[in-house]
Symmetry: C2
Subunit: 400 residues, 2 copies
């Protein structure tokens, strides 16, 4: 029989040992990270960490600053989320422990970023001061700053806002300069960044995308119609103009929100893209980049995204038509469903093999998960003003 | 001062508490699984678990039986590897703990398998008895057995070897029956399997592939020339014959090893495929499936694989030319490098974004990692008769 005082000691020591023994592995579940993802909760500056196998929210990470229009990329091992906040904050979030491992205020105002092909670098596109900063993806130590400089009409050097930053094969990054009307290519393969500049690409590039194989970089123009295309296999050809009619046209239609280019769908050798200002989804031959069809839709499209098997394209819309999502059959070229996930649909994300689509309805404070086969609702998750939804398989795709 | 006997007790209890406290998380490192992979070591019946970020072997898993011609698929969360052994053994390996969590001898002789679109099912293709077995991916409990039956010329019911089993959108599996000359499609979306049969597809299908979007299933024929194609978007059209000249031709060239179809490369709307028996890589228009070019290569090609950015195609060869790998520029249509990783090159795997290629040289007992940009060797890993190399990003791709 052990006296009470010693029994207390035993318990205390047991507890200490327990804590000590577990210190090596944080109080997090040992699990795969291939079915994880995050939902950006803009109002609360938080991320919801989600499990796409059981469509549930696992945890929340707070203290990420201003997440309006925030975007997320993932580390090469699919463990960490890099969160690019509008306030210039770059945060590295551990999806397993729900901790912010690193956070730097790296500019006054930023708009997204990218992870290098080899996973070692994170680049951020900055508005203020205009340029790109490159960080070590494990420590967030700055490894390069590349000011987005150009000469204005008076020949004075100015700095431009940077938009449409993407990763490209060969540890390169490509981005566009809004005021300068240029596309820059940075090669980080060597020790020091090598910048190639392409000028006079068009007026006010506002967003861009790179195709799934990393060959074509396409920038949308706010100041004029048409799109600027850079073929990374043929830099000597410079930037070409494609789809000259793409844009607001002569009438200068009221545009509630310029469409996102990142969501662009490539299906069966065709590009599916949101018309600007018009209630249409456009289909273009991705070989010759000529417009092949206009499909009437519910409103001004914002994101046009392909289901991974390319048989469907899902579309959301700008205000005031932003309470529905339409599903288009890519072969029949017809709308096969109009879904109502809630108020103010901001973003959509497909599971890697496409069995489910997750849709954020900001003003309904929820994310709705659909079975893309039956088009029926599978789950409904509570989330405070959710916007972007990003799953970890993006870590393995060029440009995502 | 606590008496010795009690001090011993304290230590004992402390240790117990320590173990108890850590039971929830095995003695494994908390880490992401997006940069993990496995190397099949056929001679020792083991798997080497690898880290592609630091190109190193993390651990070894043994006791997996006969791994000659073994293949591997991954769970939806990229934590578990499903190993399909030649001896009919199906094993589920935890890449984080290097433990075999489940293992069943599910047939006498099997040849690969697939994981369903939603990740809930694992299907295995069996030679003996000929058919497909479907298992719960978390428990490896059998959920369905589908005998591959057909009627021979005398009208008697026979069972056929099953080859070329792949997953397809809509929780379906597609596979071919060697003796029967049929393609079967199994729909697992509902409660019970629904089998659709396609007969007279050609003599002795020996392997097959499904394209990256899961639309076209293509089976190679051992008994005659040409390939059998099933368009999953148009099952009513049945199986069509494509590339009629694909095969050994009239002369019946000596074929040391029939090429693998899984390695098939799709680049820029074209399919790059290994010629049968000839020292050629063939290029076909993946729209009309007509042969557009023959590229002379070092030997009889086995695997023809595209670098993820589609700018290069890497090719290995059958005995006796199996000590080199050739790299073809897909635009210039020319061989840009001939690499010598070692003796008996069996398989190649690209990292998800394509910066590295891992190559197994069985008879040199090593895996060599190349920088696909500089084509220089990055690392050399000791591995006993390595064959297949598989990385976890396959978990997120249709048909891989």
């Amino acid at each position: 029989m052990i006296p009470l005082v010693l029994r207390k000691a035993l318990v205390a020591i047991a507890l200490l040992a327990l804590l000590a023994g577990c210190q090596a592995t944080p109080s997090a579940e040992l699990r795969g990270t291939g079915d994880l993802g995050v939902i950006v909760e803009r109002a609360t500056g938080s991320l919801a960490v989600v499990d796409t196998s059981h469509h549930r929210i696992l945890d929340r990470v707070e203290g990420l600053g201003d997440l309006s229009h925030a975007s997320v990329k993932f580390s090469r091992d699919a463990r960490y989320a890099f969160v690019f906040g509008r306030d210039g904050g770059l945060s590295r979030v551990d999806l397993l422990t729900s901790e912010i491992t690193h956070r730097v205020m790296q500019s006054g105002n930023s708009i997204g970023g990218a992870v290098s092909q080899d996973g070692s670098l994170v680049a951020v596109a900055n508005y203020d001061p205009g340029g790109v900063k490159v960080f070590d993806s494990e420590t967030l130590e700055e490894v390069a700053e590349i000011p987005a400089t150009y000469r204005d009409d008076d020949g004075d050097e100015q700095r431009s806002k940077v938009v449409g930053l993407v990763d490209a094969p060969g540890n390169r990054f490509v981005y566009s300069l809004f005021e300068a009307g240029e596309i820059h290519l940075v090669d980080m393969h060597g020790d020091t960044p090598e910048v190639s500049r392409f000028s006079d690409i068009g007026e006010a590039p506002y967003d861009a995308l790179i195709g799934p194989n990393g060959r074509y970089y396409i920038a949308g123009l706010f100041g004029e119609d048409g799109l600027a295309l850079l073929d990374l296999w043929h830099l000597e050809e410079g930037v070409q103009r494609i789809l000259p009619d793409y844009g607001r046209g002569e009438e200068r239609l009221p545009v509630y929100k310029m469409p996102h280019l990142e969501g662009w769908a490539m299906a069966g050798g065709e590009a599916w893209l949101p018309a600007v200002g018009r209630h249409e989804v456009l289909v273009a031959d991705s070989g010759g980049w000529s417009l092949s069809e206009r499909i009437p839709v519910h409103g001004q499209p914002i994101f046009v995204m392909t289901r991974p098997d390319e048989r469907q394209v899902w579309v959301n819309f700008a205000h005031p038509d932003n309470n529905v999502v339409q599903v288009i059959d890519t072969e029949g070229r017809e709308i096969v469903a109009t879904l109502s996930p809630g108020e103010s649909v901001l973003h959509m994300e497909f599971t890697p093999k496409g069995e489910h689509a997750w849709i954020s309805a900001r003003d309904s404070d929820r994310v709705v998960v659909y079975d893309t086969h039956t088009l029926e609702e599978v789950a409904r998750l509570d989330s405070e003003s959710p916007s972007g939804i990003f799953f970890t398989h993006r870590a393995h795709r060029i440009g995502l």
